[in-house]
């Protein structure tokens, strides 16, 4: 039943990709994600957040939510080993996140990886929302979707994972680019 609903949800994006509904598991097509990333160039942060909230509203149970997040995590592209250095490390008490940011055409692009697959799934969503946005928008982003999809516990101050630190770090990068821009404009 749930999956039928999901099917409906994905049909909305059918113009971008044709998902495979072979088995019970949701299949996330990387081409779709890439396409979506490109589409994000034209989408506001809040718009993408709403999309995620809508997708999650179709899940009946926590198991389904986590299954989806785990699937996203498994499909998050691996970060090149050369980026896995202390400098890029966002330390959590239990899991570790590596995060790199790049600035291109006035947009911040993020890449990240974690040793926890659930954290990777959450990272995947954060990248979907924030990557490809302008520094100003990223700095201002409220990221309410995390609360709305019921994943706030993972951002709580429990020291247990690197996710909260990662969100802070993503914003720090954006802030740094923002300041850099201001300085270069003045010059």
């Amino acid at each position: 039943m749930v999956y039928k609903k999901q099917l409906k949800c994905y049909r909305k994006y059918a113009i971008f990709y044709k998902p495979l509904y072979g088995n019970k598991n949701i299949t996330i097509n990387m081409a779709y994600l890439k396409k979506q990333q490109q589409m994000n160039d034209h989408k506001m942060i809040e718009e993408i957040e709403n999309e995620i909230v809508e997708e999650f509203s179709l899940f009946d149970s926590w198991d389904d939510k986590y299954e989806y997040i785990i699937d996203l995590g498994k499909k998050l592209p691996r970060l090149n080993d050369k980026h896995k250095i202390d400098e890029n490390r966002v330390r959590g008490c239990q899991s570790t996140v590596y995060l790199v940011a790049d600035y291109k055409d006035s947009k911040v692009l993020y890449k990240a990886e974690s040793d926890s697959v659930i954290v990777k799934g959450l990272i995947s969503m954060l990248i979907r929302v924030l990557s490809g946005q302008t520094p100003d928008e990223i700095v201002e982003a409220k990221l309410e979707f995390i609360r709305e999809i019921g994943m706030m516990t993972h951002l709580a101050q429990t020291r247990s994972n690197g996710l909260l630190a990662m969100v802070k770090q993503m914003k720090n990068y954006a802030l740094a680019y923002k300041i850099k821009n201001k300085i270069s404009v003045k010059q």
Partner: protein, 414 residues
């Protein structure tokens, strides 16, 4: 006849469970299965009632007041001290110092006895399986004094290598500070033997009883330790209360830890004389409510019967270990012959945190991570484990649920 004895000795776990209101709640729509007892145990109604009763009926500052409320509060507070003395069989009530917890107890010794007695070149012995709270205070002290920290290695099963310990002892050894039962592995250490060897070398011995005090019979006189530290909240009591037991001659000769009210006899600007034991170490208004509510927790243990409780917890440990070993990709970390009801494990290719999140999703509370014992995790070449720890109110049915939860998590994550 034999049957009636066995029934008498059998714990009525359902009658026990009824005393713990939190066990009625649900988590994520499923009945709570609480297997994080080594972090903190749940509280029986009598403990909760004692807290409410204190604040509702006789909240007052203790020891100084002459009014009725102060008298009642003082009496209740000091009653807990007597109960603790009995519980660990201390020589006298003056040797029971109230602290905030095990960590503060160990720090108290490090900052008072340690500062007074440790000098450059002295040696302090701890072990690989110590909690950070029995590592860091000694590191700070060693750094300050130029003393040396020595570490007893452990076997792959998670047992102390006693031969290596004997080799570490020397005339330079001033202190041996060892955990009674490991919070990460469950290993019960042969503390009597450790203490005897320390004394033979002329060293003082401190035992971290945070995990052992709820499971084992504690008799500090028989054990022979010089200091023994533990926390109320792991014994069904409130958080924020700990106990430091010390040998009288040591407590008397050590300088105070904190200065302030309560701990003084007379204060002039020229000189202050300190109060008698135990008040010398209890500066300021203590945690009155929680200390008072610790007594009903001890009463609960005594009334239920420590032996019965231990037997039940042992049964749970044996059952859980056997069930967990059925899972092919699972590896138990810590296979000591003598263990308290703690079982730590890892699963091939899976992150402990992910397992913990998915178990929580099924209403099962476990602990994941390094358990504040990073050097121990390094020893095993891992970053963390999943830890299930059992208390008197846990059941075999709950362990079955844990196994089902794990199987489901493995399926979802692999």
């Amino acid at each position: 006849m034999i049957e009636s004895v066995s029934i008498q000795n059998k714990l009525d776990v359902f009658a026990i469970r009824r005393q713990f209101p939190v066990l009625n709640r649900e988590v994520k729509g499923k009945p709570l299965i609480y297997l994080d007892n080594a972090a903190t145990s749940q509280k029986p109604q009598v403990v909760i009632d004692a807290l409410v009763n204190y604040y509702s009926n006789y909240n007052a500052n203790i020891h100084r007041g002459i009014h009725t409320l102060a008298e009642e509060a003082t009496l209740a507070f000091e009653n807990t001290r007597d109960a603790v003395q009995l519980y660990i069989n201390a020589e006298s009530r003056e040797q029971i110092i109230f602290t905030r917890g095990t960590t503060e107890g160990i720090n108290l010794v490090a900052y008072t006895w340690g500062r007074q007695n440790i000098k450059a070149g002295d040696e302090i012995i701890i072990s690989t399986m110590e909690h950070h709270s029995n590592i860091v205070p000694w590191q700070i002290l060693c750094e300050e004094k130029g003393a040396i920290l020595k570490v007893i290695p452990i076997s792959d099963e998670g047992e102390l290598l006693m031969d290596e310990y004997e080799k570490l002892l020397s005339p330079e050894t001033k202190l041996v500070s060892i955990v009674h039962a490991s919070n990460a592995l469950g290993t019960i250490n042969p503390v009597k033997q450790i203490i005897a060897a320390a004394h033979k070398a002329g060293a003082v011995a401190l035992i971290d009883g945070a995990q052992s005090t709820v499971h084992l019979d504690i008799n500090v006189q028989e054990m022979g330790c010089d200091f023994f530290a533990f926390s109320s909240h792991k014994l069904y009591g409130p958080t924020g209360v700990g106990i430091l037991y010390g040998k009288k001659h040591l407590l008397e000769s050590m300088p105070p830890f904190h200065g302030g009210g309560e701990m003084i006899k007379e204060v002039t600007f020229e000189k202050t004389t300190y109060n008698d034991l135990p008040y010398k170490y209890e500066a300021g208004t203590p945690n009155i409510a929680d200390t008072i509510a610790f007594k009903p927790a001890l009463d609960f243990i005594c009334q239920t019967g420590k032996e019965k409780m231990s037997r039940h917890e042992d049964e749970l440990l044996v059952y859980a270990t056997a069930q967990l070993e059925q899972i092919p990709s699972l590896k138990i970390i810590g296979k000591a012959k003598k263990k308290v009801s703690i079982v730590s494990f890892i699963i091939d290719g899976l992150h402990p945190q992910d397992i913990g999140i998915l178990l929580d999703n099924g209403g099962i509370a476990v602990r994941t991570g390094h358990h504040c014992a990073q050097p121990l995790m390094n020893h095993f070449g891992i970053t963390g484990t999943v830890r299930a720890s059992f208390a008197v109110y846990n059941t075999k049915d709950e362990i079955d649920e844990l196994i089902l939860g794990l199987q489901k998590a493995i399926k979802m994550l692999s």
